[in-house]
């Protein structure tokens, strides 16, 4: 009898220990908050297979490159949520890669202060696999005056896309940059005006991958995605004012 109680106790301690092992490696005060708010409190593990790369410090807090790579999770990826813990606007994107597109995104974001950057990758079993990186910063990237709006004629360039396709093994990397001020509403007198939806489609218009964007994304957003094949694609974009843009890649 005593032995059984002891065993049960040991089990409880063991489970406790497991739970402790999944404490936030970056010890962010915002982890619990974002776990509840962005992941609906669903089961998660911190997983080194989700690689989040960012420079150790933000040389330009308005353009911090973030590279998220969940290819190590194989075919099981359903969705990727990315955010910056301590930003006034934490969310960066929601990415649903589909079958023809790899779970890999490179993008540039704004940070308001030194912050952990997260990518939570939902797999088919309903578990979020979380990768992190930490960026030091002098800050102010989210509230800095718009660079785009200071350039004459920016309205004429709205929605212009420059892009290119680069071979990666059997597949291809698509890189592009869209002219858009991505106003986040935090700069005095300028309401939110930002690209909030993107879809990568094939030549027939079938959606290959979809991307929701939030205004933590930098002005003139830069984006890299990777296709498994070499097929022609089209990128469709829409901003929160209803402007639609299209590019062929």
């Amino acid at each position: 009898m005593n032995m059984r109680i002891l065993l049960v106790l040991l089990l409880v301690i063991r489970v406790d220990g497991l739970f402790a092992a999944d404490a936030d490696p970056l010890q962010s005060v915002m982890w619990d908050y974002h776990h509840k708010g962005l992941l609906d409190g669903e089961p998660y593990v911190f997983d080194e297979r989700v690689k989040v790369q960012a420079p150790p410090f933000a040389e330009d807090a308005r353009q911090v490159p973030v590279h998220i790579d969940a290819r190590a999770l194989g075919e099981d990826v359903v969705r990727i949520e990315a955010w910056a813990d301590l930003n006034p606007i934490p969310r960066v994107f929601t990415f649903v890669p589909g079958e023809q597109v790899l779970p890999l995104v490179a993008i540039r974001i704004r940070v308001e202060q030194a912050t952990p950057i997260r990518a939570a990758v939902l797999t088919r079993d309903g578990v979020w696999h979380v990768g992190s990186a930490k960026v030091d910063a002098a800050g102010g990237g989210c509230t800095a005056p718009s660079v785009v709006r200071a350039q004459p004629g920016w309205e004429d360039r709205l929605g212009q896309v420059i892009g290119g396709r680069f071979p990666r093994g059997e597949g291809s990397r698509l890189r592009l940059q869209v002219s858009h001020p991505m106003d986040n509403g935090l700069v005095g007198g300028i309401p939110e005006f930002f690209l909030n939806q993107a879809e990568l489609r094939d030549a027939e218009g079938t959606v290959l991958a979809s991307l929701e964007l939030y205004p933590a994304v930098s002005e003139n957003p830069s984006l890299s995605l990777e296709l498994k094949g070499r097929q022609d694609t089209r990128l469709w974009l829409r901003d929160n004012n209803g402007n639609e843009f299209e590019a062929a890649l």
Binding site: E59, P65, H67, V161, G164, R165, A248
Partner: protein
């Protein structure tokens, strides 16, 4: 009985030790030409931002100061150090460019003309406060009381004659868009500002392009110099700093060009391997991370084409 006394003495000594004092010792590098050499480290609370070379030239019409250092405290210490060397008053300050480690000591020289290229004053007006704030973050209390003091005179390229000493002023662009180099014709000492880094990775926050910088190096090397004073790193009596700068700029340009052509992302570029021949150059990885942020977008844009419809 002796131990408590020792402890009390130590306690009394500690606050003195904590006082922030720049160890500035002018070194004569030519007749009447003096150098204050900083380390090749990064900014930090341990060095108060003294990572920069400043200098001064003593003439019969007063002292010409070249750059005022990273903080008010530095500028004040520098002025005391100058007074220890010569009885001549400071006649004028020349600023090589607007970066914080070269100009934030200006307050100590507010009573004399502070001269800079027009572009330098403009850049300091735009960026000075943000750069000063960042310096407080990086080096801390050393900066206490430091504020941006804008230049009071505009310099034009040409010969500046002070007390019969001819200083040849060159207006160049490669490092910040407005870079002053000063050649003391009598001694052949060339104060190159940050157009020359030596044994320390070059920085690119405002560079208009590495090609512009390379062209400036040609202009500087053709001058009749005898001794090179780089903005950062040891002085040289030979062309070694030019050789190192060209090598490094060429490598950086090739790296960014190649990365853009193969579609690399910024985070991939900042992890590129750095050639072993630059092992003796300090802060290469740190400065590569910064340079990718400054310059890579330009290389990318040249590689990508319009694809919207």
């Amino acid at each position: 009985m002796r131990l408590p006394i020792l402890i009390i003495a130590l306690c009394l000594a500690l606050p003195l030790q904590a006082e922030l004092r720049y160890p500035l010792q002018p070194r004569q590098i030519a007749e009447n030409v003096w150098l204050l050499e900083g380390s090749t480290d990064n900014f930090g609370p341990h060095n108060g931002g003294n990572i920069v070379n400043t200098g001064f030239i003593v003439t019969d019409a007063g002292v010409v100061v070249i750059d005022s250092g990273p903080s008010r405290r530095y500028g004040e210490t520098m002025r005391t150090a100058i007074a220890d060397v010569t009885g001549q008053p400071v006649a004028r300050v020349l600023l090589t460019h607007h970066h914080p480690d070269h100009v934030l000591g200006n307050q100590a020289f507010a009573d004399v003309p502070i001269a800079a290229l027009a572009g330098t004053t403009e850049l300091l007006r735009e960026q000075g406060d943000a750069m000063a704030e960042n310096m407080y973050r990086l080096v801390g209390d050393w900066m206490r009381g430091t504020e941006v003091q804008l230049p009071s005179e505009i310099l034009a390229p040409g010969v500046l004659d002070i007390g019969g000493r001819r200083l040849r002023l060159l207006a160049l662009r490669g490092h910040t868009g407005a870079d002053l180099a000063v050649l003391d014709e009598r001694s052949g000492v060339l104060f190159a500002g940050d157009l020359l880094f030596h044994q320390r990775a070059l920085t690119t926050p405002n560079s208009p392009g590495l090609d512009v910088w390379l062209a400036d190096l040609d202009t500087l090397e053709a001058l009749p110099w005898k001794l090179l004073v780089p903005g950062h790193g040891p002085v040289a009596g030979d062309a070694a700093p030019f050789v190192q700068m060209r090598d490094y700029l060429g490598w950086l340009d090739g790296l960014l060009r190649g990365a853009a052509a193969t579609g690399e992302d910024m985070n991939e570029v900042i992890q590129s391997s750095i050639p072993e021949r630059f092992d003796g150059v300090s802060l290469t990885r740190y400065e590569l991370i910064r340079s990718v942020s400054h310059l890579y977008p330009g290389y990318e844009a040249r590689q990508l084409q319009r694809v919207d419809e």
